[in-house]
Amino acid sequence: MSEFAVELRDVVKTFATPEGGKLNAVDHVDMHIRQGEFFSMLGSSGCGKTTSLRMIAGFEWPTEGEVFIDGQPQGRKPPFQRPVNTVFQSYALFQHMTVAQNVAFGLEMDKVDVNEINRRVSEALAMVKLNGMEKRSPRQLSGGQQQRVALARALVKRPKVLLLDEPLGALDLKLRKEMQLELKALQQEVGITFVFVTHDQEEALTMSDRIAVMSRGKVLQIGAPVEIYERPNCKFVADFIGETNILTGQVRSVDGTHLKVYVPDLEAEVSAVAESQFQPGQPVHLSIRPEKIRLAEERSLNENCFAGNVIQSAYIGSDTRVKVKVGKIVLKVWEQNHISTLDPDAYFQQNEQTWATLFPENTLVLPFEEG
């Protein structure tokens, strides 16, 4: 058994555009998905995540590069010869078959013995809590139940890798949250590698062992949810995952991982940390998450402390979401409501003077990007 369940090595997929041009939907992508991992591909529509998944499934073949499944190059193998199964966004259930027939379909194609089929079908349906629904038509099921049939139908074949193409997209929010946890638990139970495609960053963070953030056919960053959120490697990832404040400036001095960056909009130097190498004089971005900025009535002794003015304040229960004008910049700040009180003074009010502290260890230096 290979260390990796799925590998994409320098994979390119080129499509012809309607205008007669060519577009790299997937542009030199490298991905190494470990055995037993819950791996998500995250990005907005058109980022290449679904095309990448379809190349693993065999619905598309790479223009360049190679897809490996369990160490084996897949070349131009059709889907029915690959040890993977897919859960489709639309579920793609066979409406002319019952639930049990749907789940049995893949086993029948493999010419599994009838008794074995019956045993495994009821096992799979029990796993997704659909026992007793065998004889129903998919039409008679709710969206969530159809989702489970699709899952059972794919898992019953015991694939090396299960591919999931935005499977929760059609469900309402509450059901989606439930299914996220259930899917994660199921993955841990069966121990099969899951490759999950989604545009929902919260969903990816909740479920994944590792996430690949994609944009315009390229993989920008691969890492555990905490790495992606706390140490994004570029402005796009910082901006796409959660919310953040982006400042633009120029490196003044470098001391190991500690940098001083001059930010013209603040007319001040900001201390920050960097994961990669930067040179003095280089233009850079700074990223700091709204929940990591501290607001106080008094100036703190910390180095990155700036006077500001609250221009907007919204109480949303757990937090108060505040917009603070500092210099020429408006910072998003989320203050947790630690104390239960009805006293309006306990919450930030519009036009209130305040001091905003951007702790240097929470302020990340990122490479400069146009636009």
Binding site: A57, G58, F59, P78, P79, F80, V84, N85, T86, F88, Q89, S90, A92, L93, F94, Q95, H96, F105, G106, M109, D110, R153, A154, K157
Partner: protein, 306 residues
Amino acid sequence: MFQRLREDKALQGTLLILPTLAVMVGLLIIPLGLTLIISFGQRTADGGVIYTFTLDNYLRLVGITPGCGFKSECFDPLYANILWRSLTLALQTTALVILLAYPLSYFIARAPLKRRNTFLFMVLVPLWTNFVIRVYAWMMILRTQGVLNGILGWLANLLGLPFVPLEMLYTPSAVLVGMVYEFLPFMILPIYTSLEKIDPALYEAAADLGANAARTFLRVTLPLSMPGIVAGTILVFIPVMGTFIVSDILGGRQVILIGNLIQRQFLDARDPTFGSAASLILMVMTLIVTYFYTRKFGFGEEIVAV
């Protein structure tokens, strides 16, 4: 009065259905009743009807000569053969039309969206020409000095083979070709509609679960397109059973179908009683076949419902 019309839904329904009901009763139910009555009558020498009750017309249709008794030399299979030929030809036509229409519909349904309308348009264009003219066109193609023999002769000449023009017109095959041609669009459209509705993800799902192209077709595509085949079969089989123009023009005196028989009884032979009996037998035959067919496969209603 108007107040009541606005509020009374049942009255609205009755009024809406009234025109159709009048047409159905006046032009279908009453004539059908008359046909039934006439079919039990006796003809007069000048083509009139004596209203009586005799089964002679029906007996003649199944081959029993009235007044001759049930002896074997009295059995005349002429009309029974016509009934049998009509039924088998209609079944052959329907089967051939399915076989031809299915691949074409499949091709159109899987073509890019922009081209589909062009293809469907091409399927429908011949229908803009008169039915009879289209059948005559086949006469031009199939006759001994016709287009097809011309092409075959030219090819034979090119290869240096001897060639005797084929006698194709006025054969059952010519009628079959004409029928298939005439009724093809009525099979293509419903099959296309049912194929076009199949989510392409289902083909991918089947492949993903281990089915190759043939098994995907048999287990997924074909069952899901059955409503289209059923609807098309009903649209083709029923008119083919009764048609007389195609067999008249392409079959001549050689291929007489029940449609021709009925037409001739009313116009040439001036025997409306026998013609009425033949009409009713045709209707009953068609109903029986359609009944058993739809009991097994349904009416293709899903094609309308979804």
